[in-house]
């Protein structure tokens, strides 16, 4: 009840332009519900309407006609996981640039100097992973 109240009150104050409050996100919530409904109806509908003639051969994994050996639940190349970890590291650093970008006119040259320092840390890490061979793909 508390929540509904807060939501409704937030919405009544919502005007046509951005207010910078949580009320701006109200239409996105409606869209999320609409999109979930659409996806569910389409998948459910095609599930009900399609023919169902299941045979053992049909339900096997497709491996271009040859018999499949084992399942895909086995270790894969570590490179992909390394890329994922590196992405998380560097993306967190990129996120820090956003507040700076929005306020950069007020911060002036002093802010620019500090960002330069930050970028050099970024670059040190970047050079380190290149030297370590984390981005070498050919064996």
């Amino acid at each position: 009840m508390q929540l509904i109240n807060a939501l409704l009150q937030a919405n009544t104050t919502a005007v046509a332009t951005a207010t910078g409050t949580a009320a701006d996100y109200f239409p996105i919530g409606i869209q999320l519900l609409f999109a979930i409904g659409f996806v569910a109806v389409m998948i459910g509908g095609s599930h009900l309407l399609g023919p169902k003639r299941r045979t053992a051969d049909k339900l096997e994994n497709f491996t271009s006609g040859i018999e499949s050996h084992g399942t895909a639940r086995q270790p894969m190349a570590i490179k992909y996981f390394l890329v994922a970890i590196l992405f998380v590291l560097f993306d967190v650093e990129v996120i820090f640039f956003y507040p700076y970008a929005v306020n950069f006119r007020d911060l002036g040259w002093q802010g620019f100097g500090e960002v330069l320092l930050f970028v050099s840390f970024f670059l040190i890490g970047f050079i380190y992973i290149i030297k370590k061979g984390a981005l070498i793909w050919e064996d």
Binding site: M1, N5, L8, Q9, N11, T12, A14, A16, T17, A18, D24, Y25, F26, P27, I28, Q31, L32, F34, A35, F38, V39, A40, M42, I43, S46, L49, G50, R53, K58, L59, E60, N61, F62, T63, S64, S68, A72, R73, M76, Y80, V83, A84, F87, F90, D91, V94, F97, Y98, A101, V102, F104, R105, F112, L116, F122, L123, I130, L135, W137, E138
Partner: protein, 353 residues
Amino acid sequence: MINLSAVLLAFDWGFLLQKLILIIIIVSVSLVVAMYETYLERKVAAWMQDRIGPNRAGPFGILQPIADGGKLFFKEEIIPNTSNKTLFVLGPGLAMLAALMTCAVIPWSSHLQFGDTTVQLQIADVNIGILYIFGVVSLGVYGIMIGGWASNNKFSLMAALRGASQAISYELAMGISLIALLFITGSLSMRTIVEEQMKNGIWNVVYQPLGFLIFLVCAFAECNRTPFDLPEAESELNMGYHQEYSSMKLGFYLFAEYINMFISSAVMATLFFGGYDVPFLDESTLAPNVAAIIGLIAFMIKIGFFIFLFMWVRWTIPRFRYDQLMNLGWKKLLPLALVNMLVTAAVMLWLHK
């Protein structure tokens, strides 16, 4: 109970209805555009390869997408025995959900005036519009990853891993190239960015040509389009992460790709090419409704150009090798975007002080 009814009466039902209609229109338009993109793609390919292309269903084959959609919808649904059933269904659903959610913050045009009510042609004017799009686009990776893993097929898994690591690698350069744009606009709201370009009369692409190029390349990679379509490399991986899929679930993966193409064209037009701005025309002299419609047409023409560019590139440039793709993303685009960002910041500060 009295309290509740008072609250319900105070609630702006007109606003809710207006947004609901807008959402239904925009989502259906993106679906129809995605459908006709498949038709256009085949026609463009045919034109470039000196063929005729689809021409049987209806005049000039314009009913072809409907036939294809209907076929996908009524096909038998196959869920492999060894797959994880829940995740197998969840994967395409998530991919489609992420594709449908991105259109929420794009300003399609200025505003329509019906008597006293002003209808903004934008679902939600969020002050962090760009970050919202980034966030939702990143969720698309889950659709690929979950679908590929749940299929329990080595080809699918391989393609899904490729697709995920490709998408996240290019997100880095994309994020940094946008920061250079933010130095100029000073706002993350899509509408403010467009309005600033309208006020200045100069599109952001003039200030940020390199930033735009980096963004364009990354958008191609994010949409898994050629030359970055490694997750769907038929010659190596059969069909890619959706090879175990059939029926509407396969359709969702394909549709999501085309919707993403439409939305990234819209984002590029908004951020770098003035959005619904018509060059050499002062919109403030026109009646608001006329200005809105002209703006909408101009925006659609810009989007259409970018969609054509996607297809043009697809039928012109061959696919990258995987190591070339990763080298381009990490070792070339990322440093280039950083340099672009720092140079932009320095030049901006130098010019203002």
